[in-house]
Symmetry: C2
């Protein structure tokens, strides 16, 4: 919670000045811990966040030119989609619920809760966070509107008929490799946000944004806003020129260079 020049760390019951060199990273962490407390984030989610922090540190904790290029390509892909969808897990909701809902409402892209470690309690907690941020509809919760996709790993099989099931473009931030591979096999265009350019998720997706989701979401909102005025041919061309493999290699080389 930000109070003037400090934020209050519920995690450690201390006030942290906003001038603290790790203030941004610590503040992001607090959001996640708050998500854990209300049942939206799994233990696994806290540990996964730590893995992300390492790679963010190796990337210099900023949006690189490679990430910006991938965000632009993602905006094109989402604007060209007939049925785009955003898959939301606990970490994603905890870290950027407001930006997600803003994106969803502004550009008409539905949100679907889809969890690896699925429990009713966690699903409800995530849906509550999204609704608190202003979401009117959250897919993936009503068993009657859901079906089973055997191609997806067991916990993930349940998908919404109006959401992932019929989607042609799926934005699945902070995902695992199995999931991403399955969605690719189902011939969907997969966009991911992942801080590890070597991960199976990053290596398998069609568009891999190697950046912190906290920085990605406001940028994606802005770029979608700018690009929606462009012609279809501009979006098509941008996508045609975008080379995910080359883009990933750019991030890998950048990290390798920082590692010394």
């Amino acid at each position: 919670m930000i109070l003037g020049q400090v934020f209050y760390s519920m995690m450690n019951n201390v006030k942290i000045p906003l001038t603290h060199p790790r203030s941004v990273s610590l503040h992001i962490r607090e959001k996640l811990v708050e998500g854990f407390r209300i049942g939206a984030v799994a233990y696994e989610g806290l540990i996964a966040h730590g893995r992300g922090e390492s790679f963010d540190y190796l990337l210099g904790e900023k949006t690189t030119k490679y990430a910006l290029d991938a965000i632009r390509a993602a905006a094109c892909q989402l604007l060209l989609a007939r049925h785009p969808i955003i898959s939301v897990n606990g970490n994603v909701a905890a870290l950027c619920s407001d930006d997600l809902v803003k994106l969803s409402k502004t550009f008409g892209i539905p949100l679907e809760v889809n969890l690896f470690y699925r429990t009713d309690k966690r699903e409800k907690a995530i849906s509550k966070m999204l609704k608190k941020s202003g979401a009117e509809k959250v897919l993936g919760l009503d068993t009657k509107s859901c079906t089973s996709l055997p191609e997806l790993a067991s916990n993930r099989r349940r998908v919404d008929i109006e959401g992932i099931y019929k989607a042609d473009v799926v934005l699945v931030p902070l995902e695992d490799g199995d999931r991403t591979e399955s969605l690719v096999k189902l011939k969907k265009k997969v966009i991911t946000v992942d801080l590890n350019p070597l991960s199976r998720t990053a290596q398998t997706s069609h568009i891999s944004i190697i950046d912190n989701i906290v920085r990605v979401m406001p940028l994606l909102n802005q770029i979608l806003f700018d690009f929606q005025k462009r012609k279809k041919s501009f979006l098509d061309n941008y996508l045609k020129k975008f080379d995910n493999k080359k883009n990933l290699d750019g991030s890998i080389n950048l990290i390798r260079g920082n590692f010394s």
Copy 2:
């Protein structure tokens, strides 16, 4: 909990076969989550564990020749010490309480609980874990035997007169940079275990073991056992030849090579 060919994941209420490709890493994680549940591990500890996992993955999840060299140097340093001490935090206790206590009892090196996020509850939970593993005495708990070291960061000031205060050699696994720097300034020989060779902790310590503590502790026990039969001149020579900076560069280059 290991049950025949599976272990039971309390974190996710599922059984995980020991043949699972990530079985070892998942099992280590379970230990940490169990430590969190009983109040020994902080939120921060779960996230820090994730950061470690990233670097372990980049190291190939095995003890490298550089780590082995550093473990040997650490054994020499501990055997040559007049007053060695091991500083224990929540993650360390959760991950290798049994091996810590074995080392402490076999080689007469006391254990001191010293926490960054200190609470009485956490201190007690850690002490309980160590005692469950067979520890007879745990330093750092009795305020009467403790004093304040202003050179240490605020939460860490309280140290045991019989422990860190009078120690000449301090093994501080999984530590933060401020702490390590302060101990170095106090002219203590500092040995650390850290998976990130670029961290301030690793860069500041006299002997930095770049490896997973779960692999380090049994090896350190074994090497101490072997080396205690050696002459003082052997230990002195080993330490004289050990170059921490060069050793760290070895780990850094190895990770850089794996990053592609």
